[in-house]
């Protein structure tokens, strides 16, 4: 039955079983990452046990999206006990059932141990990882069953849409978005309200709203988690965008690598259609809107909005020059508003709680929160949502818990292949669009990769260049050939076959590619090289002047003479007697790293 009024919404909400009627609610992570660790089998086994013991009315097992503390996954929250069990395997299911569910005894060995402080922290709210976070975009992710429209409605879902359609004109909705100060979360940071106002102002018989879910930056998985964990928020936001922009059709462009993540989204769209949130006469009005999913086919450049539109039209995903901007002439030549997943899901919250509330969070010119995907060499890995203006230090150390082995953190890479590195000197920089640009970095989509003292910055820059030269669509020469030449220079350097002039060549090429490329991919492609050159020039020089050591070394002070390294060395280049310091023959070492992994005392020094 189509939902037409606030009362209808309340009725739909009432269909959700009352959570307080259960003795216990268990939230189990069902994100792609946790599925790769068999959380679906844990879910099945636990469900079977609950049913066999006829506890379905007592124990509410909910398979949620991502519980966000991904490094500890698969993870489970149990309420009202306020307990989290982490790093679960299928072997733990019986203990959880027999001990906790049946007898109410906590299974100590499955509790989270805060490695930094070496103590057990049973309750999620007490974990440092969650303490400084503030959730707007991720407000429902990990809290509700993404397959249940009732669960979403119970959290004021589709109420923002109802208010927009019943109480507000399109221009009033745009005004709220504009006043909130929301800026695009996909990387560029363009004010969303302004984009919408422009699309709305262009006269046309048809307009489109598009969701850019082509999350391609390595190390970024925020959008995937939202799509998996709270798909209805995206659906609702897109309908609101359609209403505000004057569009009757929405498209979600998802990268092909995420094809396995879209089942909850497909289901959400079907359910929304079934309940009349999509279709004709939405909330009894004259407004009609529908959403379609469009799968990509594996091309990073399609994250660029004009390339994305070309791809949707059945072309190679090559970008077009701007202007005209998509707001004027986009999909099928019609005015099109392209926004990112995270940008969208902020919209219902802004409508419900008001522009002033949203604008009160963050810094002067960057409002609200930002979701980051923390990855790399960090103790706590996962999804983090913090108010704009939070510093790198707070994210890396307070939330991320620092390096797992206490090593020095050398740099943080943000903004993916378009971004750059930030060194410790800048860790107190507040994270917002403008402060980042001021220090030569950019917000990017939200991947944050932490690297420790052992990371070779030239190798990492080479890695990104390999990525961009591979993903360059080939349309414009500076990007197609320039990135390839930069990559070749880096290959030459790291093979110890370069020369000092190569450093100048890299800089000149980099500047030219930035200035002359057609789209954002090319214009930012040299950033990983230029920014690491700025901060770690000595590492480039070591390669250019061929003074870089290429073999492993043994630190005599740490070596206990256990012989483990000598035993694993495939070329027998480690010598030493039992309980005496060992040495590596530098000429024979092939730098395979086997000794490094075998050493129990960290005595092996990487090249």
């Amino acid at each position: 039955m189509p939902i037409k009024t606030r009362e209808d919404l309340m009725q739909l909400k009432a269909q959700l079983p009352d959570e307080t009627s259960y003795r216990m609610t268990i939230l189990l992570c069902g994100g792609t990452s946790c599925l790769s660790s068999e959380s679906d089998i844990i879910d099945e086994m636990l469900r079977e046990k609950i049913e066999k013991n006829h506890l379905e009315n007592e124990v509410n097992l909910v398979k949620v999206g991502c519980l966000r503390f991904c490094g500890e996954g698969p993870i489970m929250f149990i309420s009202p006990d306020d307990i989290a069990y982490v790093r679960l395997t299928i072997k733990d299911v019986s203990d959880i059932f027999e001990q906790h569910i049946l007898r109410g005894h906590i299974v100590d060995r499955l509790l989270y141990v805060d490695g930094a402080q070496n103590k057990t922290v049973p309750a999620p709210k007490d974990m440092d990882f969650f303490k400084k976070q503030q959730r707007i975009a991720l407000r429902n992710v990990g809290d509700i069953d993404p397959r249940s429209i009732e669960a979403y409605v119970a959290r004021e879902g589709y109420e923002a849409l109802r208010r927009c359609i019943s109480d507000m004109r399109a221009d009033e909705v745009i005004n709220v978005v504009r006043k909130s100060g929301l800026r695009g979360r996909g990387g560029g940071g363009f004010p969303t309200g302004l984009k919408w106002a422009y699309t709305a102002s262009v006269k046309s018989d048809e307009k489109y709203v598009i969701c850019n879910a082509d999350e391609g930056d390595p190390g970024a998985f925020m959008d995937r988690s939202i799509i998996e964990g709270d798909p209805h928020s995206l659906v609702e936001a897109m309908i609101i965008a359609g209403y505000a922009n004057g569009a009757s059709e929405g498209h979600i462009y998802i990268r092909a690598e995420y094809a396995i993540s879209i089942e909850p989204l497909r289901l959400a769209i079907d359910k929304a259609r079934e309940h009349g949130f999509l279709g004709t006469h939405i909330f009894g009005s004259e407004f009609s809107f529908d959403i379609h999913i469009k799968l990509g086919a594996g091309a990073f450049v399609c994250g660029e909005e004009t390339a994305l539109i070309r791809s949707m039209e059945g072309h190679r995903g090559e970008p077009d020059k701007k202007p005209p901007f998509p707001s004027e002439s986009g999909f099928r030549g019609k005015p099109t508003s392209v926004n990112n997943v995270e940008t969208y899901v902020n919209i219902p919250a802004i409508i419900l709680r008001g522009a002033d509330w949203f604008a009160s969070i963050g810094t002067e010119r960057s409002k609200g929160t930002k979701v980051f995907a923390l990855a790399g060499q960090l103790r706590n890995i996962g999804l983090v949502e913090v108010p704009m203006g939070t510093t790198f230090r707070e994210i890396i150390y307070d939330i991320g818990g620092g390096h797992p082995e206490g090593k020095q953190i050398k740099a943080v890479q943000i903004g993916g292949p378009s971004g750059g590195v930030i060194t410790e000197d800048f860790f107190d920089t507040p994270i917002d669009y403008d402060s980042l640009i001021a220090i030569g970095a950019m917000m990017g989509s939200g991947g944050m990769i932490v690297m420790d003292e052992d990371s070779d910055m030239v190798e990492i820059a080479k890695f990104y260049l390999d990525f961009t030269q591979d993903e360059s669509c080939g349309k414009c020469t500076p990007c197609r050939i320039g990135t390839k030449r930069m990559y070749e220079i880096l290959e030459r350097l790291t093979a110890m076959e370069g020369d000092p002039q190569d450093l100048e060549r890299l800089e000149t090429l980099g500047e030219n590619i930035k200035n002359a490329s057609l789209c954002g991919l090319g214009q930012t492609a040299p950033n990983p090289v230029l920014s690491t050159m700025k901060f770690f020039r000595e590492e480039y020089e070591a390669y250019a002047y061929r003074t870089k050591r290429t073999s492993y070394l043994i630190d005599g002070k740490q070596c206990i003479g256990c012989t483990k390294c000598a035993r694993v060395c495939p070329v027998d280049c480690i010598a030493g007697k039992v309980r005496e310091v060992h040495t590596i023959n530098e000429n024979d070492c092939i730098a395979c790293g086997a000794c490094y992994d075998a050493c129990p005392t960290n005595a092996i020094v990487k090249p």
Binding site: T32, S33, L35, S36, S37, C70, G71, G73, E215, G216, D217, P218, G219, A220, F221, R224, R255, A256, E257, Y258, A259, I260, S261, K294, L295, G296, A297, G298, A299, F300, S311, M312, E313, G314, H315, R316, G317, R332, A373, A375, G376, Q377, I381, G382, Q413, G447, I449, M451, S455, I460, F463, Y464, F467, E471, C473, G593, D597
Partner: protein
């Protein structure tokens, strides 16, 4: 016959091109597209064959060479590289006796690279058809390979 049935599902519009191609490729056990199929698709959508070919050659998800039953796509992005205590590619290459991009002679495995799979917290990661495997170790790779092999025997 299969191809005809797929084509009939789609309206004759250019913007369906990528959907059609993905659909055709996914329904085949060899997960690849042939010149004959491209010609049929171009005929159905009223597009030049050259355009269809240019699109197929642009996107990494399309293949014009037959692929194995199990497509191993190893993520090669930065978080996986940083957490890579052993070389996943080289290990798989030596286990399967093929180079990246090739298919084993028995037609069971194809080894490929993948862009970021968004499971960076489980790095290093690979995808085998529709399943993602994380926290890879040489032992885990061996187990996955033998599981795929025994699936095939069953």
């Amino acid at each position: 016959m299969e191809l005809k049935r797929i084509l009939e599902k789609y309206p004759k519009r250019q913007d369906c091109l990528i959907d059609v191609l993905l659909d055709v490729q996914n329904t085949k056990s060899t997960r690849h597209l042939t010149e004959v199929e491209l010609a049929r698709v171009s005929e159905h959508l009223g597009l030049p064959e050259s355009h269809v070919f240019s699109v197929v050659s642009f996107y990494s998800f399309f293949s014009m060479t037959p692929r194995g039953k199990h497509i191993l796509q190893v993520c090669r992005d930065v978080p996986c590289y940083l957490n890579d205590t052993f070389n996943v590619h080289e290990t798989l290459e030596s286990m399967l006796g093929i180079k990246t991009g090739d298919t084993t002679e028995d037609g069971l495995f194809t080894l490929e690279y993948s862009s970021c799979l968004g499971c960076c917290d489980q790095a290093p990661v690979m995808r085998v058809n529709d399943t993602v495997y994380g926290n890879l170790t040489p032992d885990k790779l061996r187990a996955i390979i033998s599981e795929c092999r025994s699936d095939d025997d069953a």
